[in-house]
């Protein structure tokens, strides 16, 4: 029997009995040599013989952890086995509990983490050490508020042959009990306290320590000692305790699960959850969920919005393209149906939609071409090219080439062949697959007498598969340019007769007539046009009438007698009148018509035409010159007493005034010079004074 004052092994003077348990009796002792307090524990005799004392002592002495006491000594004396450890000043959790202390959640978590750290250390040793008797009485709180897990001398190493464990009912894990039936029976007259047999043969593992720690925490949280196993299972802690949160309660409930497989499997897992307990809090999780929703849902909506907007933008472009193309198609049809006003309006609307697309501008050129207003074609086309960079705006080369080709055609019709060559050249540079562009380029080159270049372009057209009639037409043009009029006439005739393209046929006949005209064969001009009058359509009718009128006028010029002249002039008037009535009379056509009227002595109609031209060409010196010439002719037919050259003088002065700039450059027209010659004669004859 150990009593206060006893000196054990000559070193440890017993000061006080601290406690006693299943494992043994604990004393506070004084180390006489080190002069410090230690804890001496005498192992219960029941354990002696069940453990390899020396081996266990070595294990315990080697333990070094912040939250474990340091073992100093292991004594195998005659009266028992003793272990000597650090004395931890402070109080056990058991004492706190018994004093009615209410633990805060922060304290519980703080201590639980420290004990778990100690368990991680113990369980990580090779072989692992299972404390097996974790309970409030074995957890000291030192003066600094840190825990110290004590009472190791009955711990065991977790090996299959290990068979020692301490147990405390209520804190021991269910698997530490051999069975659930008490080993004693009630005795009459005595209060019944059931006793259970613990399983000493089963190798416990770290999950038992986790259970015991959980049960200890249960006690701290609820203030109630865990019900004693095995007859009563530890009930889960209610989740609505006011001072403890569900996160901690869930951890403890999991630690104390009856089935070891459902518990935490390692102390490290427990520590991780305790260390990250905030993440288990439902308010925190709710907040994180809200964050997740905000930072996922809104960006997803934004991405969706971008996709929607992009799709909308593409759709808008598609709709715009459709509306634009519809307008172009509609306007093109209006041009075909000669509804030029609405066609122009529709093209302008298309330009409003896409100002840099070339199609409506090309349409406008076609619109003016259809009205034979080639001056307007040139004016509009050149302005459009000056104001827009069609290439940079993404129009295709073929579209731009077509635009240049139409413009080249206008210059060609206006007989400005150098400009026609310029635009045809642009067209073939941009679209090298169109044989007709090369053909007309070759024709324009031949009109400019660039015969070699014309042949080269014609060859390219042939290489691109130009049809035979077109080849004949272009070759005839080249022959014409060379002055080989007979070959040219033959080529044009062949082209006209073999072409299946009515437009090309008309061109061939007109060029044939031009060739006859150049050859001075006016009868053939008239004959060709008369025989093929049904061939000509649209503007070709106008051109054919003009050619016929000019042929008759030239026949009138060359007529042998006055009667023939009047007959030819009258025919010329007939054709010119058709042209004028159709609204296609040019300035030169009207002058020719005046000449024809003069041949038939119809001064009145000649005068009427020139008067009308004064309105249309108010600054044209030639108009006044022709008026002056006509007036002189008119007066010359009167008797000398009735003549008056006042009007002649008036027209003369006006024409001279308007022709000032041509005088400087010496480019006055034939009409002006004729008028001036008449003036000289009138002055010489004193009809007009100096």
């Amino acid at each position: 029997m150990i009593e206060k004052g006893n000196i054990i092994n000559g070193t440890y003077r017993i000061e006080d009995k601290i406690g006693a348990g299943g494992g043994g009796t604990v004393f506070k002792a004084y180390h006489l040599r080190l002069e410090k307090y230690v804890v001496v524990k005498r192992i219960n005799d029941a354990w002696v013989g069940l453990m390899d004392s020396r081996k266990e002592a070595d294990i315990i002495k080697n333990l070094k952890h912040q939250y474990l006491p340091q073992a100093y000594d292991f004594l195998q004396l005659d009266d028992g086995i003793y272990t000597v450890m650090d004395f931890v000043p402070g109080a056990s959790l058991d004492k706190y509990i018994k004093s009615g202390y209410r633990f805060t959640q922060q304290q519980v978590i703080f201590w639980a983490k420290q004990i778990t750290e100690a368990l991680i250390y113990l369980h990580s040793l090779k072989p692992p050490i299972i404390h097996s008797d974790i309970k409030p009485a074995n957890i000291m709180i030192d003066l600094e508020g840190n825990v110290c897990l004590i009472d190791f001398n009955v711990s065991m190493t977790s090996t299959p042959d290990s068979s020692i464990s301490a147990t405390s009912r209520g804190y021991a894990a269910p698997e530490q009990y051999l069975n659930i039936d008490p080993i004693n029976k009630p005795e009459p007259g005595k209060p019944y306290r059931p006793r259970f047999q613990f399983d000493m043969d089963t190798a416990l593992d770290q999950r038992s320590d986790i259970y015991s720690l959980g049960a200890t925490l249960y006690h701290l949280i609820t203030g109630q000692r865990p019900p004693k196993l095995p007859e009563t299972k530890l009930p889960p802690i209610p989740a609505d305790l006011p001072d403890f949160d569900e996160a901690l309660i869930n951890i403890v409930n999991k630690m104390t699960h009856y089935d070891p497989r459902e518990r935490y499997q390692t102390a490290q897992q427990v520590y991780d959850d305790l260390n990250n307990i905030i993440r288990l809090d439902k308010r925190y999780r709710s907040h994180k969920r809200s964050r997740l929703i905000v930072n996922v849902v809104f960006p997803v909506i934004m991405v969706g919005a971008v996709v929607l907007g992009t799709a909308g933008f593409m759709q808008m472009r598609k709709e715009s393209d459709t509306a634009f193309n519809d307008k172009i198609t509609y306007a093109d049809n209006l041009v075909v149906n000669k509804d030029y006003e609405n066609a122009q309006k529709t093209y302008e609307e298309a330009i409003g939609l896409k100002p840099d697309r070339i199609e409506p501008y090309s349409g406008m050129l076609m619109l003016y071409s259809s009205q034979y207003d080639y001056d307007k074609v040139i004016e509009y086309g050149t302005n459009a090219l000056a104001q827009h960079n069609f290439e940079a705006a993404g129009n295709s080369d073929a579209q731009i080439a077509q635009f240049d080709y139409i413009l080249g055609n206008a210059y060609f019709v206006e007989e400005n062949y150098e400009k026609a060559v310029e635009y045809y050249k642009k067209a073939v540079e941009l679209d090298q697959s169109n044989a007709e562009y090369y053909r007309d380029f070759a024709i324009a080159l031949s009109r400019c007498a660039y015969v070699d270049n014309a042949n080269e372009m014609l060859q390219k057209a042939v290489d691109l598969g130009l049809e035979n009639a077109s080849i004949s037409l272009a070759k005839a043009e080249i022959d014409f340019a060379k002055g080989n009029y007979s070959e040219a006439a033959e080529g044009f005739r062949k082209a006209a007769q073999t072409s299946s393209d009515s437009v090309l046929t008309q061109r061939a006949y007109l060029y044939l007539c031009r060739t006859y005209d150049r050859m001075g064969d006016y009868d053939s001009v008239i004959d060709t046009i008369s025989k093929n009058v049904g061939v000509f359509t649209n503007d070709s009718v106008r051109v054919a009438n003009i050619m016929c009128a000019e042929a008759y006028l030239k026949k009138a010029d060359a007529a042998a007698n006055d009667q023939d002249r009047r007959v030819y002039a009258q025919q010329s008037i007939n054709y010119y009148t058709r042209v004028r009535d159709a609204g296609g009379a040019s300035r030169q056509t009207l002058f020719n018509l005046v000449t024809a009227y003069q041949y038939v002595d119809d001064i009145k109609n000649a005068q009427a035409i020139l008067n009308a031209m004064m309105q249309d060409y108010p600054n044209d010196a030639d108009v006044y010159a022709r008026l002056a010439i006509l007036e002189a002719d008119k007066q010359s037919k009167l008797s000398s007493t009735l003549r008056s050259y006042d009007n002649f003088k008036k027209y003369y002065d006006k024409a001279e005034k308007l022709d000032q700039h041509n005088k400087v450059s010496g480019t006055s027209s034939t009409y002006i010079r004729t008028m001036e010659q008449i003036m000289e004669r009138l002055k010489q004859n004193n009809w007009i004074k100096e």
Binding site: Q105, Q106, I109, F110, D245, A247, I277, I278, D281, R283, Y284, H287, S290, R291, V294, N295, F298, P299, I301, M302, G304, A305, V306, V307, L308, G309, T310, A311, G312, F313, M314, Q315, M316, R317, K318, E319, S320
Partner: protein
């Protein structure tokens, strides 16, 4: 207004609304987080 225009301007509007919503929601959540962080500290310690 064409379908494309509705989609395009709708997309812009939706984007702007979502962006504004996300900013506002984050401001609110940040404010709540400050309070929650203090509460977590009070309840669980460091």
């Amino acid at each position: 207004m064409t379908v494309g225009a509705i989609m395009f301007y709708g997309g812009i509007g939706l984007f702007a609304a979502a962006l504004a919503g996300m900013i506002i929601a984050n401001v609110i959540l940040s404010s709540k987080w400050k309070k929650l962080r203090q509460l977590m500290h009070d309840r669980y310690g460091d």
